[in-house]
């Protein structure tokens, strides 16, 4: 049986979607086979071949603090979170570090992008746009002070969020996680799916007519709690959350693999990690979007996976009720799955005529596709799965029994850093970066960006048939990722493709591409969206492209929390390896600087007008970008293949003090917590740290937080401790810079960088800089931040 300290239970549920504004209403609709699909009233449908959507009808969304500071997606999410918290008997956590928020989303604050573009380019819209705002605003609304992050794997994001929540609890990083997903219906996804001819003009009909999807909107929240924590407070427990599986198709940016093998692998991992038998699964809440490609791939995966062991498992898609709610889908379907499990009910897909039922039977054989009406069935375990653009597959098991969950099976193993890929405004390779440091290069203007050249593709053997499809973010990520594999001398083969995973960290992800798409459809109309450009609007497209290019088929997740995402990708990758899920992980930080990104920074008053150095006490900073990919491997795996080791990843920590999303000031002490947490995770004391790779960028408000925390943590020692600040060369490249700071630490520890310019903070707070030697550095602390008051820290050591 799963030991108590690894058990995760569900203690609260919340939902809002087209068939109900809370769990009770939604469940009643589901039992009565009510569809929420109607003619849309919120987007322009002129010349569009499909005009249906499943929209939320709720007039109390604005009943929350400062509604003018929140996009509709955050309002939907907070409403569902409040319901789930009340259901769990939980409320304001007072910045409790053991309470986390993990929210999945696909399009985030896309309505605020539309508002900004069409109504006066108002700066107040900017902070509402990124996906990162959602989890931060949920945390702010309930005072969650632990890890706060967003999963941006498009339509699988909701399921992955719940999986990540369990990973955090099992790793001992949290006691309570508010997990789920949210997305709102908007012109961008509507026009995008129209351009792909993926909308069904008659309303989606999963596993039946299979002519396309119907978009929905909403949010689903599951309170995931450690069993021991729930027991201690005598909380009501719905069920256990057992294992999960996440894989990448490495095939196509929008279409799933026809053979369904990677989806099957995700399901296989979920069941295996749960320590249950296939036959324990009584009901599968399928992704079932209603497109032929998805539905047929799923049927193939179910038939092949369940085979004769569980040939009559019940299956259905609930999207005919809710529409396809994108990043909220997995979370809403988790609520359906949990309600199904705990009430011994299987939900239907509808409507099927007798003729259609017969045709379905022909297609699915002995699998029990539940049609038209919900019905009673004794259930022990339920599986929910989702697939997404970028080739992501995710599956998770909810259960009445504790199972035999495997977690942290490789906790004692050391994690080696074995490869670096660096793309920055200084050039597109590690060699170019080392050269730039040697020449002491600085930004040439107050807005700098990376430029991928044809030579980069040539050197990496990437063909035009592939690279022509990439948007700017995808270019940066593909080149840095392929460089990291090359630097690690790691060949991806059929044998090891599933042993390697990718976590992309990004602050703004596809925000620039989404703006670009919005500009196009505002000019040409919703019927004129671009099928070529639409995939780039999803934040995980860059990671998806890297998976396709490299052939990596293991764990594949994109997280977006602000700049610190470039460090969280390392921390979460360490956890995936310690969990025994993968042998090797590529952790990346990637952000781009398109003209619109610089415009946002200028409007927010954080862009400097001239080049500024870290600790220059300026109002703003140089706006930059970059993508840095870091190969992490379980030490034995790395050594067995004779890999060069730069250094070891020793610890990861996090801290948060809630301030408004878009702000940082007032959250200073959370950085102290993040550092203490990382040192404890590494099992070392502050006195063992020899240097810091920091996040100072020249903006006084940010740099003062770094100075203050380091002073409190290191005391007098700080005056002689070198602070290496990568942003002095690349500008503020958000997640790209956070990962670059980690790469800088690896280069210093390995001796590939003999030294670099360093900053020294004197007792009076004044700062001087001089070249510092790397020879005596044994352990380096790397730190980063995110708007809303989150901080992360990583310790690298020799």
């Amino acid at each position: 049986m799963t030991p108590d300290e690894r058990r995760c239970v569900v203690t609260g549920l919340g939902v809002i979607c087209a068939v109900g504004n809370n769990v009770e209403e939604t469940w009643k609709s589901a039992l009565e086979s009510v569809s929420g699909i109607h003619k849309t009233t919120s987007v322009d449908t002129v010349n569009c071949y499909a005009d249906l959507a499943a929209e939320v009808k709720c007039d109390t969304l604005d009943n929350l603090d400062a509604p003018e500071e929140k996009d509709r997606v955050s309002k939907l999410c907070i409403k569902a979170a409040n319901e789930a918290l009340a259901d769990a008997g939980l409320s304001n956590f007072g910045d409790d570090q053991r309470v986390s928020v993990v929210i999945g989303s696909c399009v985030g604050g896309v309505l605020s992008i539309e508002q900004y573009h069409q109504h006066g380019r108002d700066a107040s819209e900017i902070a509402k746009m990124p996906i990162a705002a959602i989890a931060s605003q949920v945390a702010e609304s309930c005072g969650a002070g632990g890890i706060v992050t967003n999963v941006a794997n498009a339509c699988a994001a909701g399921t992955i969020s719940i999986a990540v929540a369990c990973d955090l609890i099992r790793a001992g990083k949290a006691d309570v996680v508010i997990a789920g997903g949210a997305d709102s219906f908007a012109a961008v996804p509507y026009s995008g799916f129209l351009s792909l001819h993926a909308l069904d003009e008659n309303g989606c009909s999963p596993f039946n007519r299979c002519n396309g999807i119907t978009l929905g909107e909403g949010a689903g929240i599951v309170i995931v709690e450690s069993y021991e924590h729930a027991q201690k407070r005598s909380a009501k427990q719905y069920c256990e959350v057992l294992g999960s599986g996440v894989t990448s198709d490495a095939n196509h940016i929008t279409a799933p693999r026809e053979d369904g093998v990677c989806l099957m692998e995700a399901i296989n991992r979920a069941v295996k990690n749960s320590g249950i038998d296939k036959s324990d699964i009584g009901y599968v809440n399928a992704h079932g979007t209603g497109t032929g490609k998805n539905d047929n791939a799923e049927i193939t995966a179910f038939k092949n996976f369940f085979g004769e062991d569980n040939a009559s498992v019940s299956v259905s898609s609930t999207k005919v009720m809710t529409g396809h709610c994108l990043g909220a889908a997995g979370a809403i379907e988790a609520v359906f799955s949990i309600k199904a499990l705990t009430t011994d009910t299987v939900l239907p897909t509808f409507p099927y005529s007798e003729e259609q039922s017969a045709a379905l039977k022909e297609k699915v054989g002995s699998l029990d596709f539940v049609q038209n009406k919900a019905r009673h069935k004794e259930l022990k375990c339920v599986l929910s799965n989702n697939v997404a653009f970028g080739g992501t597959n995710a599956a998770i098991v909810f259960s009445k029994v504790p199972g035999e969950v495997s977690a942290q099976s490789a906790k004692a193993k050391k994690i080696a850093v074995t490869g670096l890929g660096i793309v920055s405004p200084l050039g597109n390779s590690k060699a170019a970066y080392l050269e730039a440091v040697k020449a002491d290069k600085k930004p040439e203007s107050a807005s700098v960006h990376s430029t991928i050249a044809l030579d980069d593709y040539k050197e990496l053997g990437i063909k035009m048939a592939f690279y022509r499809k990439l948007d700017n973010l995808g270019q940066l990520q593909t080149v840095s990722g392929m460089r990291a594999l090359q630097d690690a001398n790691l060949q991806v083969t059929d044998d090891n493709a599933k042993d390697i995973g990718i976590i992309v960290g990004t602050s703004e992800g596809g925000l620039g591409a989404t703006y670009d798409f919005e500009e196009l459809i505002a000019r040409e109309g919703n019927s004129q969206g671009s099928a070529f450009k639409f995939p780039h609007t999803v934040y995980n497209a860059a990671g998806g492209y890297l998976s396709i290019c490299s052939g990596i088929k293991g764990y594949g997740v994109t997280i977006t929390t602000g700049p610190l995402s470039g460090l969280d990708s390392i921390g979460y990758s360490m956890n995936v390896i310690h969990d025994g899920q993968e042998q090797a992980m590529m952790a990346t930080g990637t952000d781009e600087n398109l003209p619109i990104i610089t415009e946002f920074a200028q409007k927010l008053g954080v862009a400097a007008t001239d080049v500024v150095a870290p600790f220059a006490d300026n109002e703003g900073c140089v706006v930059g970008d970059g993508s840095v990919s870091i190969m992490l491997e379980e030490e034995g795996y790395a050594k067995a293949r004779g890999a060069k080791v730069y250094c070891y990843a020793l610890g990861f920590g996090h801290g948060r003090k809630n301030v408004k999303f878009g702000k940082l000031v007032g959250s200073d002490e959370a950085l102290d917590k993040a550092i203490a947490d990382a040192l404890a995770d590494a099992g070392i004391s502050a006195s063992e740290i020899d240097a810091v790779c920091g996040f100072a960028n020249g903006c006084k408000r940010i740099d003062d937080i770094e100075k203050g925390a380091l002073k409190r943590v290191f005391g007098e020692k700080l005056a002689s401790m070198p602070l290496f600040e990568v942003k002095e060369r690349t500008g503020e490249g958000r997640a790209g810079s956070a990962a670059l700071a980690a790469a800088e630490a690896a280069l210093l520890l390995s001796g590939e960088l003999a030294g670099d310019n360093a900053y020294f903070v004197a007792a009076d707070g004044s700062v001087a800089s001089k070249k510092a030697d790397a020879a005596n550095l044994k352990k380096i602390l790397v730190i980063s931040f995110a708007a809303g008051g989150s901080y992360s820290a990583v310790v690298f050591g020799k």
Binding site: S195, L196, I253, A255, A465, R468, K469, Q528, A531, P535
Partner: protein, 81 residues
Amino acid sequence: MSSEEMKSKLKSFFMSDLGVDGDVLQFDTPLFGEEIGLDSVDSLEIISFVDSNFGVSMTGVAKENFQSIDTIAAYIEAHKA
């Protein structure tokens, strides 16, 4: 519009909207071959471009008409109002 102008316009579209490198794109280069590697998503873009620029619908048209710039131009020529 002459046939050559039409083909040049199509070529420009492939370069600007579908990221194809102009140096390797001749009027008879196979579009769905290994080098250019167009797929179903790209064909949606071609259909949309041809419809709005030449007023010819290629929805549901047989694959061989999409083989190259030459074959697309020939289809447009044959179906122009």
